[in-house]
């Protein structure tokens, strides 16, 4: 992805920027920063993946084999935190950095230096999280949701985690402000809001969600910090606080957060499906309204994470129905994607395979989500592997598959070289098979009552756990193939065709050469609206 050199550009003027390492440290170019975001999130994806494989290795057989229970708890906690805040979210911000300016015809992000800031906060936060494994007392071990009283009791590792969350929150807020301003103020003349590509739309809504809830998370962890060190009692029952209050504030952030991780995925898929179906997206405006409805609804459903924490029946009913209501706009989206493919001249290159895999598996995750929303069932499956299976179907085969789809789709535009189609297909099929091997069986484990975050289990769970662990290692190894494909693509000598996807209609394909020049759209393009 780093192959956008000064000698390959389409505007015929010199690009002045430092070379070597200083280029990356000092750059304010949205493409360079996007590249750094993507490499960073890939590194974090493998760090979080390493932790996941540690968990699965321990769960390969009943009994305690390789991880002591305390270490196991740290592994599950940090796996969640690193994947959510280090891998998935920065990866989408990386896509936004690369794609938003090119798709709306802007020369760069609105605040280039702030953009650099929000990136460089990430490695600092990540090193805090990773190095907390090596401090006395070990890394935070109370789960990625860091509920008190566990999180008010842990050692230095918890403080490092709190600090890391503060930094990550600041980074996300700055990134979101940048994206909103870019989208609202810097579109090509003539491009109205309802002319924007869906990826841009979903990111605009996501960025609003970010500025809405990330400050609340920052407030929550600040309360935790003052409870730990400055004698306040927000969450300390003896001092007049209430641990359930933490859960309310946390999930007020936490539920919109899961949509922050999936809405840009919807955007990517909404770009890819029409391209490879060679048809305009079916129901463009309903897609926009569905995205907005999902975002608004996501702010009033948070307590469905807390059905067993104690709540009046009226509250349970409200949160149950509000949650199930989200299935309606989500259903609209799935319908529109399917209708876009209907009678389209479809081809199945790797981006399309991942996009279709996304729809197929995300719907499974969506259905298990509706099941979890039903109070009496949720009381059964709360904190079991059923929930683990559910949110890995929406986050791995949802968010992550969409990221892979987007990466394959735009790699030729970014690098100027084509990726290896055969290897890409291998990557897809291996991921698909091993993903389902890992997580489908976890539905059964959860329904049978296997609790999450426990390093040991009863003997009747042994077979499914072994299957799941084999799947997990297969899935992890398959992702090394992705790294190989990306590096091979960057180093390839062969130039990609100007427009490798004949169905693509967005500005970066129609108005920019391949690879995209280091500086693009310094003069705004002439945008002709197409009727949706």
């Amino acid at each position: 992805m780093a192959a956008v050199h000064g000698d390959v550009h389409g505007h015929g003027h010199e690009d002045h920027h430092p070379t070597g390492i200083m280029r990356w440290v000092t750059t304010t170019n949205h493409k360079d920063i996007g590249t750094m975001y993507l490499w960073f999130s890939l590194a974090m994806f493998f760090t979080g993946g390493f932790l996941a494989l540690g968990i699965r290795a321990e769960l390969f057989q009943p009994g305690i084999q390789i991880l002591e229970p305390e270490m196991f708890n740290s592994f599950t906690t940090l796996h969640g935190l690193i994947m959510v805040f280090g891998a998935i979210m920065p990866a989408f911000v990386g896509f936004a950095n690369w794609q938003v300016p090119m798709m709306i015809g802007a020369p760069d992000m609105a605040f280039a230096r702030m953009n650099l800031w929000s990136f460089w906060l990430l490695p600092i936060a990540a090193s805090l999280l990773v190095s907390s494994f090596f401090v006395p007392g070990g890394a935070a071990a109370g789960g990625w949701t860091f509920y008190p009283p566990l999180s008010t009791q842990g050692g230095l590792g918890v403080d490092m985690m709190i600090f890391a969350v503060h930094i990550l929150g600041a980074s996300s807020i700055m990134g979101a402000i940048n994206i909103i301003t870019t989208i609202l103020n810097m579109r090509a003349p003539g491009m109205r809001l309802m002319d924007m590509p869906l990826f841009v739309w979903t990111w605009l809504i996501t960025a609003y969600l970010l500025v809405l809830v990330m400050p609340v998370l920052a407030g929550t962890v600040t309360m935790l910090l003052t409870d730990r060190h400055f004698g306040t009692s927000f969450f300390n029952a003896a001092g007049g606080g209430d641990p359930v209050l933490f859960q309310h504030i946390f999930w007020f952030f936490g539920h919109p957060e899961v949509y922050i991780m999936i809405l840009p995925a919807f955007g990517i898929v909404s770009e890819i499906i029409p391209t490879f179906s060679r048809k305009p997206l079916f129901g463009y405006s309903s897609m926009v309204y569905a995205t907005a409805s999902i975002a608004i609804l996501s702010c009033v459903v948070w307590a469905h994470h807390m059905f067993t924490a104690g709540m009046p029946t009226v509250g349970q009913l409200f949160f149950m129905y509000a949650t199930m209501l989200i299935a309606v706009p989500t259903g609209v989206k799935v319908f529109n994607w399917t209708a876009t493919m209907w009678r389209g001249a479809m081809t199945f290159e790797t981006p399309m395979l991942f996009a279709i895999g996304f729809i197929f598996l995300f719907v499974i995750g969506g259905f298990s989500g509706v099941i979890c929303a039903i109070v009496p069932i949720d009381i059964q499956v709360q904190d079991t592997y059923y929930v683990i299976a559910h949110f890995h179907y929406v986050l791995v085969s949802g968010a992550l598959f969409a990221l892979f789809a987007g990466a394959y789709y735009w790699l030729p535009k970014w690098t100027g070289h084509m990726y290896d189609e055969t290897l890409g297909k291998w990557h897809f099929w291996l991921s698909m098979i091993f993903f389902n091997l890992t997580f489908f069986v976890q539905h059964f484990l959860g329904l049978a009552g296997m609790p999450r975050r426990i390093p040991d289990y009863a003997l009747q769970f042994a077979d499914f756990n072994m299957v799941s662990s084999i799947g997990a290692f297969g899935f992890g190894m398959s992702q090394l193939l992705f790294v190989y494909i990306v590096i091979k693509c960057i180093r390839s000598k062969e130039a990609a065709p100007e427009k490798p996807w004949d169905g693509a209609t967005t500005l970066e394909w129609t108005h920019l050469p391949t690879p995209a020049p280091y500086h693009s759209f310094e003069k705004p393009p002439v945008f002709k609206p197409v009727s949706h």
Partner: protein, 183 residues
């Protein structure tokens, strides 16, 4: 000129969004009093306020209930026990039981007792008029105190319940913090 306008627009927008973020940060904190008020109005979590006495308490002489008493301390050097393990009485009858706490240490310690009832939802049928958990307890070194709990189990208690448990746990109050009962 257009370029300057654009930069200015961007700056204005950034300021608005930054203010919005700060407002949301404050909103996170505002959820704390809101939550407390909500619980108070909705009658959730008010285990630490005295209940009002109903005008006529109907005594159901056909039934007996047994209430068992439990006492725990968490992290403070106190001895805490009920002076009677259990009592048997009719629903609707007012009862008084005594608890005793002793501070074994050489320092003054402030504690707050938090109640817990079993089975679930017992609080709907339990009216407490007097309890040591309504205020913080300050014990001097080696001091012993005997404290009452007065309550009624209402006759609305479901028929199938015969044995109930009322449990208290004393927590040490950090110096300077407010007790639940004082909010």
């Amino acid at each position: 000129m257009a370029q300057i306008d654009k930069t200015e627009n961007n700056q204005t927008m950034m300021k608005k969004l930054l203010i919005f973020s700060v407002v949301m940060f404050v909103f996170g904190y505002a959820m704390v009093p809101f939550y407390e008020k909500f619980c108070e109005v909705a009658g959730i979590n008010n285990l630490l306020q005295p209940d009002k006495l109903a005008k006529s308490m109907e005594i159901d002489t056909d039934r007996w209930v047994t209430v068992e008493f439990d006492a725990n301390t968490r992290g403070l050097p106190w001895d805490f026990k009920p002076l009677q393990r259990s009592i048997k009485f009719h629903p609707g009858e007012p009862v008084e039981v005594m608890y005793e706490i002793t501070n074994h240490s050489d320092r003054e310690i402030t504690g707050q007792a938090i109640p817990s009832y079993s089975p679930r939802f017992l609080e709907k049928h339990l009216r407490k008029f007097e309890c040591f958990c309504f205020t913080r307890q300050v014990l001097k070194p080696k001091e012993t105190r005997v404290m009452p709990v007065q309550f009624v189990i209402e006759s609305s208690l479901p028929e199938h319940l015969h044995t109930l448990t009322i449990s208290y746990t004393f927590f040490e109050l950090p110096v300077g913090s407010k007790a639940v009962s004082e909010k």
